[in-house]
């Protein structure tokens, strides 16, 4: 696995591939490059415009769909106060944070242990566990939602509880796979030397493997964070009590049936959407360097 900055090879830019080409070809290459950049820029506008519109709409006194509604100006924070009053934003954010934090903690603790065992230890059934890990990543969770709902809410009585919301996501299989791949890449001699010195496996994991696996841990955190923070269906099923709902669920509730309760419902909804989107987008932008195709690639192979 290589770092993202390694991927600067040019596969499709003719201009750098053949510096000795004659001048018409260079001109053609330059036109191609301009076309490429124009295309990419247009695409980027199409991808980013809804985010711009979300922010601008959330700051307008009256949020309207006409063209003036897309222009900046006349800003107010009233919508943020309105959504805060309608769905108690702080409480929802706290719930989202607790659920996401719990999932992160479980994935890091148990996922690292499992990843280490799969990469570095031999035990009976290791092949089966690994095959299951690959299989689990391809089973759509939604297909199991009804029996899970029956078990978690009806049989275990975990409705309206953080544990119930966390359970299906508690250990992220993709992250386990990622940790395993990373531990596999460390040199075997390192582990053998430590074992000969009589270090316990837990100690080897804690003092040798983990410090070296820090980039994988960060990627694991980023990958894992997105799921429970953005998840809608499962917490929607599990929570009836609005005090327990994470932000995605309370915002969806507002979208479906509470809009009449505020003066500028669209503005309030967009303000809530901004608050829901901000933590993940910020985290992603800050750690963008680590959140790259190489990691995604290793996460989905199989």
């Amino acid at each position: 696995m290589s770092t993202p900055t390694d991927h600067t090879r040019t596969a499709t830019a003719p201009s750098t591939a053949a510096p000795e080409t004659s001048s018409p070809a260079t001109r053609g290459a330059r036109t191609g490059r301009i076309l490429q950049l124009t295309g990419l820029s247009l695409g980027a506008v199409a991808f980013l415009f809804p985010f711009y519109y979300m922010v601008v709409g959330s700051l307008k006194k009256t949020t309207t769909g006409d063209v003036s509604g897309a222009l900046p100006g006349g800003f107010t924070t009233a919508n943020y106060r309105a959504i805060n009053g309608a769905i108690s934003l702080g409480r929802s954010l706290l719930n989202s944070g607790i659920v996401t934090g719990g999932v992160l903690l479980c994935t890091l603790v148990f996922g690292v242990l499992a990843g280490y065992a799969l990469a570095r230890l031999t035990f009976r059934g290791r092949g089966t566990v690994f095959a299951t890990l690959l299989l689990v990543q391809t089973i759509p969770f939604q297909l199991l939602m009804l029996p899970l709902y029956a078990l978690v809410v009806r049989n275990y009585g975990l409705g309206d509880s953080y544990l119930g919301m966390m359970l299906p996501f508690a250990i992220n299989s993709t992250a386990v796979f990622l940790f395993r791949q990373f531990f596999l890449q460390l040199p075997a001699s390192l582990f053998e030397a430590a074992r000969i010195d009589g270090a316990s496996e837990l100690r080897i994991l804690w003092t040798i493997a983990l410090p070296m696996a820090r980039p994988a841990l960060l990627t694991g955190v980023l990958l894992t964070f997105i799921g429970p923070w953005n998840e809608f269906l499962w917490p929607f099923l599990v929570t009836k009590n609005t005090d327990m709902q994470p932000l995605a669920v309370s915002l969806a509730g507002f979208l479906s049936n509470l809009q009449g309760t505020v003066a500028n419902p669209t503005g309030a909804l967009l303000a809530g959407a901004c608050v829901l989107a901000l933590p993940v987008v910020a985290l992603f932008l800050v750690f963008q360097r680590h959140f790259t195709h190489t990691n995604i690639d290793s996460g989905v192979k199989g």
Partner: protein, 299 residues
Amino acid sequence: MTLSHTNGPGRRGTSRIGALFAAPYVLFVLAVFAVPLGYTVWISFHRFYFTAPGAGVDSPWVGLSNYRDVFTDPVVGRAFLNILIFLVINVPLTVGLSLVLAAALNAKLPFRSFFRAAYYVPYVTASVALVAVWAFLFGSDGLVNHALGGLAPDPSWLVNTHLAMPMIAFFVTWKQLGFFVMLYLAALQNVSRELYEAAAVDGAGSVRRFFSITVPGVRPATTLVLIYAIITGANLFSEPYLLTGGGGPDHASVSPVLVMYQKGIEQGHPDFAAALGIVLMVFVLAISLLARKISERGE
């Protein structure tokens, strides 16, 4: 990538500790996947109601009766037709756009990390937040209709029987594209650079090089894209539920998972929903295998 390879066997003494380390994950998989899967199969063959724990309600064996209900339900038929509509729009758009974008982003470009981030942001953002903006953009009094003026569709995008499902397919394509761009970017690293240089020397233009080298070179990634698109289609819930207000006019944008929710939880027929879940799982497996066959043919 090496999947089954391990560097050096651990000592024999490590065997118990390995099992111990893996145990929480194994328990998790049993609790969240294996047991519910078995339970779904069981429920799908019985008459089943949600009850409080300990309430003694019988769940008699009913054979294939739930499955018969699933196959004769017109809304279920509509839901599967909708997945097909979704796939017909989503798959070619996703494969085409993400491959072209990845090829462009793989070159040395100014602002390359900005472009990558731009395409990736919708993928990491919550559906609920993005649905809110799309509903505002494409509402009957939204920006898109204002811009189109007299050309705006009537009824508007999200409440139009013919447009509701295509809108969902476009929304999901837009939201997920960045993920597939990254997947293709990774696959492009494995395509030999010498091939491009040799082709350039032989006078092949960039379009020719794209179709003769890039497209076949990333075929395994294309299989993965196909399978992911199918799984996404089979999993649709938030978009039809929130974007098109509970499944669109006349179930125009209803999805199988949405039907499972409505039948199983809103209307109290979890047995029907369980049978539908099994049918959906078989459907996903069958189409995934078919996709793999098709895209690997000719290799």
